[in-house]
């Protein structure tokens, strides 16, 4: 038999009080740990995906939405911009690089993004197998999307219009996309995207998308700025067919189709003066220039207030739980003073009683801590499942952050503090007096 055994047994003597203390403590610890895990992974995702993107050029609307849609691919796009109109900005000498992004379709709810091979290169994502898309309707799939969709090299699929799987059946397009490559997992947004040349999107919408071009879709038509000759030819052909059809049905849509559109450009600046020059160029257009760093900061600030409130509540719960540890030990001490006096007459030393009480407190705190840390992982797993459904993204619940070591340390430390006074009382107890008060 050991003191540790007696302490453990004593913890469960007052099971009700101990359970309450454990509940409080584990909720406090659980919430704080969950906030830490969330904050850490969110900011990690945000920072990883911002990388060196200095601006996002897109349609007018909420700048935050523009960033969320085009950098993180979690919100609906703000609309489309004309490629020709964007030229004066992306060709500006202060801009080093512009990567186009064109939305409009999905496969089973996974976004198909029309872009250039530079997009994945920019995030330093390597190919796992196959090759990078070259011609329209070739796709290279992000690792996570490939895994979840079970896509293999050479497989073909039809896309759905819009960004949600729920798109009606009739909205499906007839063109077959072919998987020509799969990227390696990178922890960036590429993992959950299906990449294809911009021209694929343009062509798809020549066929299928008649009226709903405002539906964040891409409308293509004759565009003299098209870089890819093949694509241009296709586009011309298709545009022609389409135009005929269009005329047959409805007139007055031609103005929509005069120019090709994309959803946004990701810009990387060449010169530090870019932030002063580019906004001037966007003035009086239907476009806007958003700075990811600033928008995400703003988001973090707003998020931060919410997180702070949750944290404050968690800390309050923890304080109450430490009070609960203290009170339950003190009560137990009053009820068990004879017990402790008897232990002394049996030869128990003062320090052993001190350790006994301290251990009882620490057991409760340690148990609460463990339950709390497990709870937070369960919470993150549930959240991850939700994120998987709505954003095709997930959180890792099975990591242990450095901040959590602090959480463990501080909690155990406060557990010692809460147990110290009762333990000292046991240490200084006058056994003769206690036993005489029978």
């Amino acid at each position: 038999m050991k003191i540790i055994f007696i302490a453990w047994k004593n913890c469960w003597q007052k099971a009700g009080a101990t359970t309450l203390t454990l509940l409080l403590l584990s909720f406090g610890v659980g919430i704080i740990s969950m906030m830490l895990l969330l904050e850490n992974q969110l900011s990690d995702k945000f920072n990883k995906n911002i990388k060196d993107i200095d601006f996002v050029l897109g349609a007018k609307g909420s700048p935050l939405q523009l960033i969320l849609a085009n950098v993180y691919h979690i919100d609906a796009p703000t609309g489309n911009i004309k490629v020709s109109e964007a030229q004066k900005i992306i060709k500006n000498p202060t801009v080093k690089e512009a990567i186009p992004l064109a939305y409009g379709d999905n496969y089973e709810g996974w976004r198909i993004v029309g872009t250039t091979p530079r997009y994945a290169e920019f995030y330093e994502v390597k190919l796992k197998e196959g090759k990078v898309f070259e011609t329209p309707f070739e796709v290279t799939v992000g690792s996570y999307a490939a895994k979840e969709l079970g896509l293999k090299l050479g497989q073909t699929f039809k896309s759905n219009h819009g960004l949600d799987k729920e798109g009606e059946e009739e909205e499906g397009h007839d063109q077959l996309f072919t998987v020509v490559g799969i990227y390696e997992a990178s922890g960036t947004v590429i993992d959950r995207l299906i990449l294809t040349p911009v021209e694929s999107i343009w062509e798809v919408h020549d066929h299928g998308d008649h009226e709903e071009s405002a539906h964040a879709g891409i409308v293509s038509a004759e565009d003299h700025d098209a870089e890819d000759h093949d694509a241009k030819e296709h586009a011309d052909e298709d545009g022609h067919d389409h135009a005929e059809e269009e005329h047959a049905h409805e007139a007055g849509h031609d103005d929509h189709e005069e120019e090709r559109e994309v959803t946004a450009y990701l810009l990387i600046k060449r010169l530090p003066i870019a932030p002063m020059i580019l906004p001037q160029l966007v003035k009086n257009t239907n476009m806007q220039l958003a700075l990811p760093a600033i928008e995400i900061n703003r988001l973090n600030e707003n998020f931060g207030i919410g997180m702070s409130v949750v944290k404050a509540v968690a800390i309050l719960i923890m304080i109450i739980s430490f009070l609960s540890v203290f009170i339950s030990l003190f009560n137990a001490l009053r009820e068990r003073q004879y017990e402790l006096a008897i232990l002394r007459t049996l030869g128990g030393r003062r320090i052993q009683l001190f350790v006994l009480i301290l251990l009882e407190g620490l057991f409760m705190v340690a148990l609460g801590l463990i339950i709390g840390l497990v709870l937070s992982r369960v919470g993150i797993t549930l959240l991850s499942d939700m994120a998987k459904d709505s954003f095709h993204d997930e959180f890792n619940a099975m990591i242990f952050l450095p901040q959590e070591y602090y959480l463990v340390g501080v909690t155990l430390g406060l557990g010692v503090v809460a147990s110290l006074l009762p333990a000292l009382r046991a240490f200084f107890m006058d056994i003769s007096k206690t036993l005489s008060n029978d």
């Binding site: 007696i6 008897i342 002394r344 030869g347 003769s432 029978d438």
Partner: protein
């Protein structure tokens, strides 16, 4: 050599009466009854003898060792090894079973006593069948037996009993007294019973009467 010897013991409460106790000694295999009505300092005397309290004047020797020469952990350890104490109402560690409760005695005094020794002790006191029960489920008589088992498990040379029978009915009181005596003989120890229970008066020959002393 006397197992316990007191000389000129006095104890003064800080805000209370001064107690003066007669000197006495007890040998191996002997019994001594210390009688007194309440307020005569019976419990105080027992605590002085057990080294739970320090006398204001005078000294207590157990096995030839002056208790006042020990302090702190050494005194706790000496008491645990050499003195078994049975209290009026038995207090146990509520969360532990009967067997674990009596094993506390060797644990806290660093004595090597095996679990089978503890079971033998329970058997001798006729409560082996209760060894895995919580102490709170036992009757008062049974609890007192457990307390005796705990006091005796370390084979102490001095057994101090504070009102061991006053909470018990006639039959149980007789049982408990007999058990204490039997075990004392078996261990070759000295048994000191502090009580106001007149039922014990006729049972024990050697006795000391405490009288109320006022300062």
């Amino acid at each position: 050599m006397a197992i316990i010897q007191t000389t000129n013991l006095q104890y003064t409460f800080s805000k209370g009466p001064q107690l003066i106790f007669p000197s006495f000694q007890a040998e191996e295999n002997s019994e001594l009854l210390i009688l007194g009505s309440s307020g005569t300092g019976k419990t105080t005397l027992l605590h002085l003898l057990a080294g739970l309290r320090k006398p204001t004047v005078g000294e207590v020797k157990v096995n030839g060792l002056l208790l006042s020469s020990l302090s702190g952990a050494a005194l706790d350890c000496f008491r645990g090894k050499n003195i078994g104490v049975v209290f009026q109402t038995s207090h146990f560690v509520q969360s532990l079973s009967v067997i674990d409760n009596i094993l506390l005695a060797p644990y806290f005094s660093n004595n090597k006593v095996s679990k089978s020794d503890a079971e033998k002790m329970l058997d001798r006191l006729n409560i082996l069948s209760k060894k895995n029960k919580k102490t709170s489920t036992l009757s008062v008589g049974e609890q007192q037996r457990v307390a005796i088992a705990r006091a005796l498990l370390n084979n102490p040379s001095l057994i101090l009993a504070d009102e061991p029978t006053s909470a018990l009915d006639d039959e149980n009181a007789k049982d408990v007294l007999n058990l204490l005596r039997e075990q004392t003989h078996a261990l070759n120890a000295a048994l000191l019973i502090v009580t106001h229970d007149n039922r014990l008066k006729d049972e024990v020959k050697q006795r000391i009467e405490l009288t109320a002393l006022k300062s």
